[in-house]
């Protein structure tokens, strides 16, 4: 009996470990390189005749033999940032006609040495181009890129590629503030109390640039509008997001915007009978009575662009950040049942203005909370790089102190 109990204990523990490990790496198709064992005997032999992919011209990179790696901070079940990026991957795959085994995803990679390992694994697995999608990956990308000069590394939301001094490191992001501006129009027309609320993640330029554009969009159609911003101090904490949304609603905000990952602000708004503008994903299914629209990305634009450049043998730009005109970002379909009348027309009007290239969101006169003019009349603030740097809190925005 005693032996049986011990055996059972061991078995149950093994089951635990198995389940945990199986859950973690369920979506992580780490395939062993078939050429590895042969290589161990003769490491210098790179032009193996038995390599099925490139028998004729081993150096010629094409859509048939290119391998693409991705490193993501979470997995698509977040229904937010990673979900959106993965949608872009799928669209890119379809557009370029790639096979499933040409794309290797590393999900749930934290912003520490795990990222370095993931990048090295992708490089060793023969990826020709690797996309790292989270801000905190940047230092690891630069570190690993030094060791693999033949592989292209593209990092989203970062800013260090220009100063890294490496030809194979590139940054990319997009002018999401243009989409934020359009989504702000929907909020500005909908609010009755002229008080918007905004659930932010961190007091950080990417967030500040986003809510400023959102506010300016609202203000363009509703000059009296004010906005309150509060931070969760986390990119993803659904419980805090729900509580923060409720705090904003209790202060009298009747349309909420958000820069955080979950649907919690949308559902909190719906339960309280107010409205909401989302980010990253179309949230109409989550809160059909509250979600007006969302600012969303189409990452496939960059992925296709970068991969085509690589195959054509051209230089990938060191920093890339396109916007509304190129279809990199946009607003998701409007929730026609609840948006204010005229919303679609006003959004189209603003879109035409931005797409024409004559005008951009941060056009003066813009005055900050201390009463100082940060962008003079007739001037336009243009982001110097793809990663946002805008850090001014404008008049009319009540942002929680850090």
């Amino acid at each position: 009996m005693q032996h049986f109990k011990k055996l059972l204990a061991i078995l149950l523990c093994a089951l635990f470990i198995f389940t945990v490990v199986a859950c973690d790496s369920g979506k992580d198709p780490v395939k062993t390189d078939p050429s590895k064992p042969a290589e161990s005997g003769d490491p210098v032999d790179t032009d193996k005749p038995d390599d099925p992919v490139k028998p004729d011209d081993p150096d010629k990179l094409s859509l048939e033999n290119i391998k693409i790696g991705f490193v993501h901070i979470t997995d698509p079940s977040d229904m937010g940032y990673t979900y959106n990026h993965d949608l872009g991957t799928q669209k890119m795959q379809k557009e370029l006609g790639l096979k499933d085994d040409q794309i290797i995803n590393k999900f749930n990679t934290s912003e520490d040495e795990t990222c370095e390992n993931a990048l090295r694994e992708l490089a060793e697995q023969g990826c020709h181009i690797i996309f790292a999608t989270s801000f905190g990956f940047e230092d690891y990308v630069i570190k690993v890129a030094k060791d693999y000069p033949d592989i292209e590394f593209c990092h989203a939301t970062g800013y260090k590629a220009a100063s890294a001094g490496l030809d194979n490191v590139h940054n990319y992001f997009g002018k999401i503030y243009q989409a934020r501006y359009l989504s702000g129009i929907a909020a500005g027309l909908k609010t009755e109390k002229n008080k918007l609320g905004y659930v932010g993640a961190f007091p950080f330029p990417e967030v500040i640039s986003g809510f400023t554009a959102f506010y300016l969009g609202a203000k363009s159609v509703n000059p009296d509008v004010k906005m309150t911003v509060k931070y969760t101090h986390s990119w993803n904490n659904p419980t805090l997001e729900a509580q923060l949304a409720q705090a904003l609603i209790d202060e009298g905000c009747d349309v909420l915007g958000q820069h955080c990952d979950s649907t919690a602000p949308a559902t909190a708004a719906e339960a309280a009978g107010v409205f909401h503008v989302g980010y990253n994903s179309d949230m109409r299914d989550a809160a059909p009575n509250a979600s007006l629209t969302s600012a969303v990305w189409d990452w496939s634009r960059y992925l296709v662009f970068a991969i085509n450049k690589l195959i054509a043998g051209e230089e990938i730009p060191v920093d890339w950040g396109e916007g509304l005109a190129e279809g990199v970002c946009d607003v998701s379909p409007l929730n026609d049942a609840i948006v204010a009348p005229d919303t679609a027309a006003k959004i189209e009007e603003a879109r035409a203005k931005i797409v024409s290239g004559d005008w951009d969101v941060f056009t003066g006169p813009l005055v900050d909370v201390r009463g100082e003019t940060v962008v003079a009349e007739g001037e336009t603030f243009i982001e110097p790089a793809s990663a946002p740097s805008w850090g001014y809190i404008l008049e009319g925005i009540d942002a929680q102190a850090d």
């Binding site: 059972l8 945990v20 979470t74 904490n237 705090a247 209790d250 649907t263 809160a287």
Partner: protein
């Protein structure tokens, strides 16, 4: 008037934040009273969270209706799933005498993975958001007491909650009564303090440990259901439990192993977690402000260990497995 409104809204938010903590804390107190130190509350809550949501979601599909039936199924599923997690813990620690700390931590990791895994499975099945319908959402929303809810101040203070708030209060009161006023509760406390003595007195130690841990796990499961069904309004969101399971364990200490004290301490604790959003203190960095609940826990720990009141102490055998042969 405005200040009063802010305070009343803060209390309202504190109660809502404190309710899942109260449920999980009650469950954990019951568990610890039997001498089992279960650190797996976070995992148990995840299991309850996904079971409750899956129950409601499938019930809507099976019966083609929202509202009461999905609600009942969500409650049953999450409670049973919580019980199963308690059963796993009991089998490992009581029958097989595995180390309680390690088992609890493993359960926390296992349950978290369990919740996220099946959340994703469900997401693929739903092809997007796993979301319940409006009628079911409404069942987990605030109860409409009619005129009472509309009464200024009083309405917000007492009648602007979902049913789980009142349910959690009743559970805590019943548990206080059970532990302090019934013979069975006395036996349970005896098991937690000194299982050897309890065994000599003819109390079935194994049965009490199993019973308390399983029911306690069930309550943690219900707390998890609160996170997915009330906080997230019936939508599966990864990380929906957000560390509340760990908070509940801290709160057991904060309320010094008493379900009745857990009532107000969970409200205070909940209030401290949401206060930074509502009452800004000029000059105080938010990062420090957000530490308040934990600073309070440390202070309570220090105070209780200075005063050395036996009634406020951890049950003596908590964390130790009982070997009858070594009595």
């Amino acid at each position: 008037m405005k200040v009063l409104n802010v305070i009343i809204n803060l209390i309202n938010a504190a109660v809502l934040a404190g309710t899942p903590l109260l449920l999980a804390t009650s469950g954990e107190i019951l568990t610890e009273k039997s001498g089992n130190l279960n650190l797996g509350v976070e995992g148990q809550m995840y299991m309850g969270a996904i079971a409750g949501l899956a129950g409601a979601w499938f019930a809507e599909q099976w019966f083609g209706t929202g509202g009461m039936i999905p609600l009942i199924i969500a409650v049953i599923f999450s409670f049973i799933m919580g019980c199963i997690s308690g059963l796993i813990y009991s089998v490992l620690t009581v029958t097989l005498r595995a180390n309680q700390n390690v088992t609890g931590l493993t359960l926390a990791i296992f349950g978290t993975g369990f919740g996220k895994f099946f959340g994703e499975v469900l997401g693929h099945k739903a092809g997007g958001f796993v979301a319940v319908g409006q009628e079911t959402k409404a069942m987990f929303g605030n109860i409409n007491f009619g005129k009472l809810t509309e009464t200024p101040f009083i309405g917000t203070l007492f009648f602007r909650y979902n049913w789980l708030v009142y349910f959690a209060l009743i559970i805590a009161v019943i548990m206080g009564w059970y532990l302090n006023k019934t013979r069975s509760g006395l036996s349970l406390r005896a098991v937690g303090e000194s299982p050897g003595t309890a065994d000599s007195a003819g109390i079935n130690v194994t049965r009490y440990k199993y019973g308390a841990t399983i029911i306690g796990g069930g309550l943690c499961g219900l707390a998890g259901m609160y996170m997915s069904m009330v906080n997230q309004k019936g939508i599966w969101v990864t990380d929906c439990v957000s560390g509340y399971g760990w908070l509940a364990i801290a709160l057991v200490i904060f309320s010094t192993w008493s379900p009745l004290r857990a009532i107000y301490s969970s409200i205070i604790f909940g209030g401290l977690t949401v206060m930074y959003m509502r009452i800004p203190i000029p000059g105080l960095p938010t990062a420090i402000y957000m530490m308040f609940p934990y600073i309070a826990t440390i202070i309570v720990l220090i105070l209780t260990s200075i005063k050395q009141i036996k009634e406020h102490a951890q049950p003596a055998s908590t964390g130790l497995n009982y070997y009858r042969e070594e009595r």
